[in-house]
Symmetry: C2
């Protein structure tokens, strides 16, 4: 049997382009004892993958040049050599960008979405959702009456950050790019307010929407949103830092050094900044996340949006577009 | 009765100079009911006072132009109109830079140094010591075998940070300026290692002294020490931020924007940065601080050093020098 796979052809400098990817056919053998043979249904495309394309020191090993692009998928079990799985089971696994794979069953998880579509296991009920949940539970800790600001608010992390904030009685202010996304955040997700980061008056509009300052800023975009947020952060504000999409494509050279102003604000307003990768909180919070959010997603109380691209061959283009913000909702590739 | 006082003559731009201060004579009336009349023995000079000279938004109100410079002192009670205090009591109070003051007794604290000199109530057993203690207990949380780095290691905060680190079995690496201070940190305080930040090879020397990276960096100086520390911070490193002496004199304009590299490191290595003012932890930790450290200071197990200047009239010059790092130990003014 063969698997189609997309491999890293070369490391990008700056924004990745199609030339950094290459399609290959890989021979798949029969699964060994303890393995499951998987057919990929959905591939999740996420900003962290940009980091894996670089060899900068990071929390995770880079993808080797010539290696299959890393990624999480929802799959159907075609053949199982492990008693914990049977043919037809729907599972999630880090198969990477490919159509088929054999995986050690210990690295495969049964999908339980409480009746929501299986694809949500890659979005609102998967790692993006858990990033929002863990960052808010452990670091952000919003309280009733506080103001929570999140960028990429129409995306899989940001949309849940805001909804979790509102569920504890905090005010959710979203930042999104363009009329459609802003309308969705305000009208569909029900955020208290939304501001378009492309507006020429973005900083003053954000300030106007946060009359009592900002208590939690969920940092998942990086770039110049920070400059507008920093002056608004209240005493003891918390800043979970989980992604910096604007920086994945290389450092921004500014006109001046913005570090002193940031560190000075950290001191003067007793701010908390804490970077995290969702895996840190899996042992302590993943179970509660699934039990708490699964039923809410299945019932429609928690809303989510998916942006589904058809065909693995279109994954590179979709990924490149995502880094520019062209997707609208959790970006998935329907593989088969 | 008259009090001599030093007032803020004008707000400095950049480093303060003698022209920003003025000496005045203030008439002191007899204490009212509930007040105590105090004779100042020691005035503490601390970097935070530079912040109070500016009107930038901060955690505390600025000193008004023409107002007495803010500061904590150890005093003798000359007359008491409050049953909690009697003549001859040694107390600490925020009298400011002056020789005498009447204070509401509710704003005055009895000094208990467990037998150590009363001046330690402004240093190792006072707010500087508590800054080290609170920052390490709540934020730094060093563990046995970890590496703790602190700058201004010969100063009242840094010297205790290192000693507290060693008491839990962590490795203490100090940063200090000049041979004398470095010798003191290594030989008298017993730090595991020390590096001179004036050395042309400072960054590589620091790296060499931290072969297992840095787990806690106690940030109390700001400026370019950060550039040397940042690449060495380990996964889950903690950075209590309690002072930025190098930034109090205005922002440093760099050749490029250092913020992206810092935020990227926060993300990639799950760093914690947390600004704090020691008063935040007073309700929860001050009692334990006094009980735990008082006897250790009195017995000499915890070491400290004071740099005592004679005469209130010399306070401005001593303060200006401190901002350049010319003091060696906790800077105090012996007022009477």
């Amino acid at each position: 049997m063969k698997s189609t796979a997309i491999v890293l052809a070369s490391r990008p400098t700056g924004a990745p382009g199609p030339e950094n990817f290459r399609t290959e056919e890989i021979e798949i053998e029969a699964p060994l004892d303890g393995e499951v043979s998987l057919r990929v249904l959905y591939l999740s495309l996420d900003p962290y993958m940009r980091g894996r394309m670089s060899d900068a020191k990071s929390y995770a090993e880079p993808v080797p040049v010539g290696g299959v692009m890393e990624g999480e998928t929802v799959c159907e079990v075609m053949q199982s050599k492990n008693p914990g799985f049977k043919e037809g089971d729907i599972v999630r696994a880090m198969t990477g960008w490919r159509t088929h794979a054999n995986m050690d069953a210990r690295r495969v998880k049964q999908v339980n979405t409480y009746g929501a579509p299986a694809s949500t296991a890659l979005g609102v009920l998967g790692m993006p959702g858990f990033t929002a949940y863990g960052g808010m539970k452990v670091i952000g800790q919003p309280k009733s009456g506080e103001t929570v600001v999140v960028a990429a608010a129409s995306g899989p992390v940001g949309s849940l950050v805001g909804q979790l904030a509102m569920r504890v009685g905090a005010r959710a202010v979203g930042i999104a790019g363009g009329r459609d996304k802003c309308d969705y955040v305000k009208n569909e997700l029900g955020f208290d307010a939304v501001v378009d980061h492309r507006s020429p008056d973005f900083a003053s509009e954000l300030a106007g929407l946060c009359p009592k300052g900002i208590d939690v800023y969920f940092e998942n975009v990086g770039g110049h949103v920070w400059d507008a947020v920093l002056p608004l952060l209240n005493l003891y504000a918390r800043v979970p830092v989980c992604g910096l999409i604007a920086q994945y494509n290389g450092p921004v050279i500014g006109e001046q050094d913005r570090l002193p102003a940031t560190v000075s604000a950290i001191l003067r307003r007793s701010l908390l900044l804490r970077g995290f990768i969702n895996t840190e909180f899996v042992p302590t919070h993943y179970e509660a996340f699934q039990q708490e959010l699964g039923p809410l997603v299945a019932s429609g109380e928690i809303k989510y949006r998916e942006d589904v691209v058809d065909g693995l061959e279109n994954a590179p283009e979709a990924f490149i577009g995502m880094l520019r913000g062209s997707n609208f909702g959790k970006l998935l590739v329907r593989v088969s």
